[in-house]
Symmetry: C2
Subunit: 369 residues, 2 copies
């Protein structure tokens, strides 16, 4: 493919609602085009970058033994009524009536669907633990979609779900995913901070959000900067090492402004280690025990002949959101900067051409294919 | 990943509507699970196979210079009103009203959307020709979804769109895609027959469907068996060679039953070359000129300062459908047979194990990861 034939429709006309850099730059450089409010087409340049991010996310999920599958975008309302979330979810859920007048919806997340698959297929503790994931389009009918791909309606997300026999086992799965997330963001060239978080509408007992630093971020961050020195690559994918890893991270103060307390910050963090900045949430992990397995009756036989509800967690990374978030974290002097791992092209330096020798040009063209 | 940990929930319980082999086998071997009528989850085994098919489809699109992008699943009704298809499409279109009461729909195809992107981005003939494609979920609200993934409601499809200045150029793009389709099906281990076809609801002047042979196929096929001897690999990706290729294929009689005429068949094909069998449509290509560009006002400036509506074609391959179609074409003795190019695993032969030497087992486990 010659660069001159690449479809990269740059534009200078920006809509007034494009207020943040990533939104402006993605439109200006022809990475995306708005289809309707909060819904975008990914043009070749943006698509290439998103695909590279997806690949890294996938590889790190596979590395911890998660199995990939693909659930559909359109779900039946029934399973959401079973879990009790159908009414709770409100207007953000895109509700659809099909030609037979069945109640359907465009999935905003997949806890119910994976629980339905699991309960119909797995009867014995012997198949546990299991972690499944898929990378699929989701829809949340935001009242005011904004910030381009950062808060859009149709978005591309990796969501994983863990199934364990006991809470103790479930925490092992949780820690594996914690590890996979740190590795993923590291490979994407990002500094991420795992922070204790509220569980929100997913519910549950234990939750961390992963925040990357960006001056234009939506949340204020107060942290001990030594958290960046935790040696991610020194931990191993086993129970003890991963437990230590989570503890090592949790030793350092790191909160968003809703949990910030100046006194606690000053007591716990020396002045020279304090950082105040802004961040963007790019991942969120939850442990919620039997919150879905109990109402949906998803149980397995235990080794002593009883039944127990499986203990579940869910784990999301916003793949399309990351494209915008990386621009926010890295842009400089009105230019986007891509870590090499996800750069759409490799740079090709073409030495001055000799009219009678186009081998350099041929080489350059080849590498752009 | 150990085989014992792979999530492959085999089942013996088959729903009564699973009437054809591919549907039965895919359910029985835990490749898919029905979510609701005509909507399936792709479990790890089915997912692996579908992804391998997708990769081959993608590579052959890239080989002819098509550029990948990704359009959203949810489209605004407006563009379908511009083309005139919003009312025509009937109940097969899944119509959606969002929280702002805007009319939206789950795209069954993307002619309107790509035309909207093109008209807003390309003004000059200099950027032509262009071929774009995406591999995205589509929805057709079939009245009676059946045959598993072969006629489902939510399906995974590669659709490509070509843009040219003249009809002559457009036929070159058409022939490139014709070539890419033959290569794709060949790599999938399939014997495909390109057949002149009606253009149906897409409209237009020129169309071929690609049919693979399967005894359980939906359409009867009458053909000259010498069509399988056309040497696909001898053609080159250039105008003259590709024109010759299409002509070479068109020399041989091949029709579905709606166009069958016994006299013509006997006149044109010697008895020993006649085959009567059944087939499954796995691809369809269309040239339709300015059918969409004219009502949607998608034009470019020509070299002599005038404007002309671009000449378009569209090109579909049912990626999820192919999984079922390949089973139908290949199954034997109640067993699925996968061409090596898309087999979910490589077979591993484990010689008899010596209790004191588990190196073979270790080797086998490694290769299954």
């Amino acid at each position: 493919m010659l660069l001159s034939k690449l479809f990269i429709p740059v534009t200078k006309d920006l809509p007034s609602e494009a207020k943040i850099k990533s939104h402006q730059l993605m439109l200006r450089t022809g990475m995306i085009r708005q289809s309707s409010a909060g819904i975008y087409s990914w043009l070749p340049l943006g698509f290439k970058i998103m695909k590279k991010i997806e690949k890294i996310v996938r590889e790190e999920q596979n590395n911890i033994g998660a199995q990939e599958m693909l659930m559909p975008t359109i779900q039946p309302a029934d399973i959401w009524k079973e879990s009790g979330r159908y009414d709770d979810y409100g207007e953000e859920m895109l509700r659809i009536s099909d030609r037979q007048k069945r109640e359907m919806l465009y999935g905003p997340t997949n806890e119910e669907q994976i629980t339905e698959i699991f309960r119909s297929s797995v009867k014995s503790y012997k198949l546990l633990p299991q972690i499944f994931y898929h990378i699929q389009w989701k829809f949340r009918d935001e009242l005011r979609p904004r910030f381009g791909v950062m808060r859009c309606r149709e978005f591309f997300m990796k969501d994983a779900y863990s199934f364990d026999l006991t809470e103790k086992d479930a925490v092992i799965s949780y820690n594996k995913m914690f590890f996979a997330y740190l590795k993923t963001f590291q490979r994407l060239g990002l500094k991420s901070i795992p922070m204790k978080a509220d569980t929100g509408p997913i519910g549950g007992d234990l939750s961390h959000e992963f925040v990357i630093l960006a001056e234009t971020g939506e949340s204020k961050i107060f942290a001990d900067k030594r958290i960046f020195e935790v040696p991610i690559n020194d931990y191993k994918n086993n129970e003890i090492s991963l437990k230590k890893m989570r503890n090592d991270f949790m030793e350092f103060y790191a909160v968003t402004d809703d949990k910030f307390n100046a006194d606690t910050f000053n007591q716990n963090v020396n002045k020279e280690n304090q950082i105040q900045t802004k961040g963007i949430e790019v991942g969120h992990i939850f442990y919620f025990g039997d919150k879905y397995s109990k109402p949906m009756n998803c149980s397995v036989d235990t080794s002593d002949g009883k039944k127990t509800f499986v203990k579940m967690g869910s784990y999301g990374i916003g793949v399309s959101r990351l494209v915008g978030a990386i621009i926010e974290a890295k842009y400089n002097n009105e230019k986007m900067k891509w870590p090499k791992s996800i750069a759409p092209f490799e740079a090709v330096v073409i030495p001055a051409l000799n009219k009678n020798d186009d081998s350099n040009l041929i080489r350059a063209k080849k590498s752009l294919r």
